[in-house]
Amino acid sequence: MSAAARGSDNGRPAAARDHHDEEVDVAALYNKRILRRLLQFARPHHGKLAGSVALLVLGLALQIAGPWIVRRVVDGPVQAAIDGRGADPAFDLTGPLAEVSRLGLLFALVALVSAGVIVLREWHMNRMGQRIVFELRNTLFGHLLRLPVGWYDRHAVGWTVTRATSDVDALSELFTTGVALLAYDMLKIGVVAALLIWIAPQLSIVALLMLPLMMIVSFRFRHNARSAYRATRASLSRLNAFLQERLSGLAVVRLFRREAASSRRFDQLNSKYYDDNMVTVRHFSLFFPTVDTLAQGVKMGCLVYASWLIAQGSLTMGVFIQFWMYLDFVFDPIRELAERYNVLQAAMAAAERIFGVLDTPAEDGSPPRATPAGPAGPGEPPAVEFRGVSFAYSKGPPVLHDVSFAVRRGQRVAVVGHTGAGKTTLVSLLCRFHETEQGVIRLHGRDVRSLPQHDLRRRIAIVQQDVFLFSDTVAANIRMGDTSMPDDRVRRAAEAVHADGFVRRLSQGYETRLAERGANLSSGQRQLLAFARALAADPDVLVLDEATSSVDSETEALVEDATRTLLAGRTALVIAHRLSTVVTADRILVMHKGRVHEEGTHDELLARRGLYWRLYRLHLAGSETEAASAGAQRIAPDAD
């Protein structure tokens, strides 16, 4: 066997197929469509946009005025004084001095207004840019919340969060400074180049001939620096991924005594990062001296030519100084231009991803489907009805086969079965987190697909097996966004399910902020809060997916009693794990491998000695020694 696989901590730098290269965005090409869409977000602010343009133009005009005043000083009073003194050593300097003062005053005025304009511009443009980004972020977040659950199943949460944060931030730079400064720099180069031609046409030829060279060098350098930077990001990302994994898997590293090997591999990655950085360092170390040398070349070329023109008498010293000062006005933006272009590119890449999300159809994007009502049965239609429902998650094996059952108003139906029997899928379909493929689900006789999403979900409250709490206050977690719900109702709901006691013991009662995912509460307490949440919502239909996680016996008693309260007199579909819930149900559905295997009351099903009977015995066996194996179903020893 020739092929040799090597221990991962000691292997070559990862194979060619390395995802970190892809992670670093390949800068989106300049894209008019994206740019136009981005500008649409700026449209509501066109007044402010016009204001910033005005401030930019005004600022440019004031900047240009400076060297012009200097020229007036040199060619006016200074030249007059030199000429005057040359003719008569006792030349009266009062006039020229006063002229300098007047021009100085003018300069002071220009500088003052310019300062005002700059401060105003910084403040105004930032405000506007941040505002636009704020709105864009809200639009994006709002859209994300309207995407179907299936979309979330396909996208990692981290990826989605990055869209709403980092990507939007990349745009922030574009809107606050990027676009405006890019436009400003272009304008500045254009205007100043025109001025150079205007004030000294001959001299400007020397400068303008060399400008393209500078631009090329600048772009070339920034391009190289950019790709070097990208390489740096990729190797940093690889380094970080490695570090993160060794930290998460520290136990494994130590168990196999791979500390030294890990360090060797880390050294390789770390050195790669260093090498890539050094390429960047070299680029930058070279870039600045090169651009400076080029700029100096332009200036010296102009100086030589100007000295000849001055000797000829076809150029005044003042004009030359003005020209000389304007040259710097052109060099600075050229140095920055390529960088601004990079900002634009990064923003484009981010914008492309953001628009990708915004273009994903939202779940309520299509109007409710009109479906035939179907033959109405005699009397009141059942609260919940499944008719011939089959379902499979995208391309997966079928999870439900031809499931039919009904829950009448006020009835409580328990669903039992082993893991993978398809119980939780029933809930997902009822709430239309996923669309049924075959069969019909009806709520009070109406096809759920014909109901608007919000209507449907407002009528159903779910208690999920894996309780999800937000890092908000306890009250907010019970209210779940219904701000009109009075405090009183929040408290009564909590009281009814025995959550009030522990909530009151929290440092700020109902206003206590929970840790992420409610980590500062026990699993039993989290369940009770989820009960309170469902009770406060006061739904038509309650769906309860009982938790399998074990809690201490005291909490267990509370949870069991709370379950009783929650279900009292309610239409409910319960994915049951607690024997007391199962036994007291009006009807029991026994699911097995995606089908309704048995149906009936507890006594009927026991008498049948089928699957339910076996599950029940499994319960009793489990009551003594709790095994953690799949589908462990708890039973309280004192269950009724």
Binding site: L97, L103, E122, F256, P289, S307, R457
Partner: protein
């Protein structure tokens, strides 16, 4: 600043600075380049001034011929080139040295982290360690590298500029100090609020991410309770707070950058007005006037750099403190000095009167076990009975109390760690795999392993067929961009990994929980062969796995409650017999 720079060798930077002697050469070379590059800068400025004076024929100056202008201009270009070389050297050497520092420092940090146990770093979030390894080291590097360079530049340029200007026109120079000093003050004053708002901004971005992340993770709850609008309004509120701190930050930054332009304008104003007067009076030549304008640009940048350094100080200091905290962590499992590995290993494991607790919570009470060399012991018991803790102590992932755990009669605490890890192989409960190829995961324990062995181990763990089904087989990458293994596949790969290490003693810590019963049977049959001449401990909930063992121990609440062979225990009608009955029923249901 909290402490003056000459005290840094004792402050939070002490540790970082202790690395610098290693990079003395490039660092000093780079700093040495600062002086000639500044001197040459000044030389070009002075030559240009002289050319100007020669061209305009200032009083007392020889008019310069056109040839003279050309010659001097060429000289300027030559000097510019040489100066460019020095500037290159300065940046390259100093930044390079700081990058080298970063590399070595980060390497040391990593190696230090690898000496710790997961428990030692449990109180620090992984993300936190990551950000220290990247952002904090970067902040310290920037502060001790480029910032030192810029300050050296300032230290050379400022006096040169001031003296030159003062020699030419001291009044003008004195007046020009006003905008310079004002700017330096503005930059220094702005450093604090910049730091404050940028930190606040970061925090609020963090809040925003948390809200986004929670809503996306809990999207089912949000949708089920039709709470989208409420979530949006929370997000908007957070976004508004973020917006506000951003605007504040941008305002402070904007004012700082505006003050640079303003300082420049005020400087120019001074030169135009006072310089204009002096030119009219014949005290200042045109060339000097231009020199002053150029000096404004030349001396302003180093001043800004000083302000920038001051702004960076707090960030770097906080970073250094956080890094020092990581370096201060002490490993809890350590090799005793002078620990000697025995020549041969029989593989007898013994636990004597082991009592242990995490903090104040007791977990194990007086547990005694003996596994003779080559035998297999099964351990079972309900969740939380102390099985995993026992495994961690026996394999010394956590230090057991002295005199409780013995390998071949020697306290495991007295054995060299490498020897112990090579002798006792553990398949951990959570089968953590690295996002590399499957082959390198299986060969993880070894420096080199041939594909044949990898295949053999995969076959022994019954994961070979699964792996060969992947498009790239054993070369398939695991993780986000590669294949995602099911829980069972992960567990079997982890078993293959431990088998590949070929340890004389092997502990299987409940490592088949995600495997279905049929596959489990197949794996167990394969393992029976592999375990034949090894000492083994099998921790499991499943009777089928335990039945492989010569003896079985049932733990409850940290104590041994039953012990015997499978047959003995089943006959006894105790807890083990109940588990047995239960699993028989489960199998029956599954078969329906």
């Amino acid at each position: 600043m909290t402490e003056p720079w000459w005290r840094w060798s004792r402050g939070p930077f002490a540790h970082a600075i202790s690395y610098f002697p290693r990079f003395r050469r490039p660092f000093v070379l780079g700093l040495l380049c600062v002086v000639p590059s500044a001197a040459l800068d000044l030389a070009t400025l002075l030559i240009v001034r002289d050319i100007f004076n020669g061209v305009t024929g200032a009083p007392g100056v020889q008019p310069m011929s056109f040839q003279g202008v050309v010659a001097w201009s060429l000289a300027v270009m030559l000097i510019t080139l040489v100066k460019g070389a020095f500037k290159y050297g300065m940046r390259y050497w100093v930044t390079g040295a700081s990058r080298e520092f970063e590399r070595v420092y980060r390497q040391d940090l990593f190696e230090h982290l690898m000496t710790l146990t997961p428990r030692d770093i449990a109180h620090i979030r992984t993300g936190d360690i990551m950000s220290r390894s990247v952002a904090d080291i970067e902040a310290v590097r920037m502060f001790l590298g480029p910032a030192v360079m810029y300050n050296a530049q300032t230290a050379v340029v400022m006096p040169l500029a001031l003296v030159t200007m003062a020699v030419i026109d001291w009044q003008l120079t004195a007046l020009m100090l006003v905008p310079f000093v004002a700017l330096a003050l503005v930059v220094k004053v702005a450093a604090r609020p910049t730091q404050h708002w940028s930190q606040l901004s970061q925090e609020r971005l963090g809040d925003l991410s948390t809200v986004a992340q929670e809503n996306f993770s809990g999207i089912r709850v949000v949708k089920a309770f039709v709470a989208e609008a409420a979530s949006r309004s929370v997000f908007e509120r957070m976004g508004r707070a973020f917006l506000e701190s951003n605007v504040r930050l941008a305002t402070v930054r904007g004012l700082t950058s505006a003050s640079i332009s303003i300082a420049k304008d005020v400087g120019t104003l001074v030169i135009v007005l006072l310089g204009g007067w002096h030119m009219v009076q014949g005290r200042l030549t045109l060339g000097d006037f231009l020199l002053f304008l150029a000096m404004l640009n030349w001396a302003l940048w180093p001043l800004i750099a000083v302000g920038w350094t001051l702004g960076m100080y707090h960030r770097a200091r906080a970073g250094a403190v956080r890094l020092n905290q990581l370096f201060a962590l002490q490993p809890t499992v350590r090799e005793l000095p002078g620990a000697v590995a025995p020549a041969a290993l029989r593989g007898e494991l013994e636990v004597r009167h082991l009592s242990f607790g995490w903090g104040t919570t007791p977990v194990l009470h007086d547990v005694s076990l003996r596994v003779p060399a080559g035998e297999t012991l099964g351990i079972t018991g309900r969740t939380g009975c102390g099985k995993s803790t026992l495994v961690q102590l026996v394999s010394r992932q956590v230090d057991p109390p002295p005199g409780t755990v013995f390998l071949d009669g020697r306290d495991v605490r007295e054995l060299p760690l490498t020897f112990l890890r090579r002798s006792v192989g553990v398949v951990p409960q959570d089968s953590f795999l690295f996002s590399e190829t499957i082959a390198s995961n299986i060969g993880y324990a070894r420096d080199e392993i041939d594909l044949e062995t990898v295949r053999e181990m995969a076959a022994a763990a019954h994961v070979d067929a699964d792996i060969e089904d992947f498009p790239r087989g054993y070369d398939e990458l695991l993780g986000e961009r590669g294949v995602t293994l099911s829980g069972g596949q992960r567990q079997r790969t982890a078993i293959a990994r431990t088998l590949a290490a070929d340890p004389p003693v092997i502990i299987l810590d409940d490592c088949l929980s995600a495997v279905d019963t049929v596959t489990e049977q197949a794996i167990l049959r394969g393992l029976r062969e592999r375990l034949a001449d090894r000492t083994a401990i099998i921790v499991s909930h499943r009777v089928a796995a335990l039945s492989l063992a010569n003896r079985i121990v049932v733990l409850d609440e940290g104590a041994v409650v039953e012990e015997g062979t499978h047959e003995q225990l089943v006959a006894r009608c105790g807890p083990y017999a109940e588990i047995h009955e239960r699993q028989r029923l489960e199998a029956e249901i599954e078969a329906l």
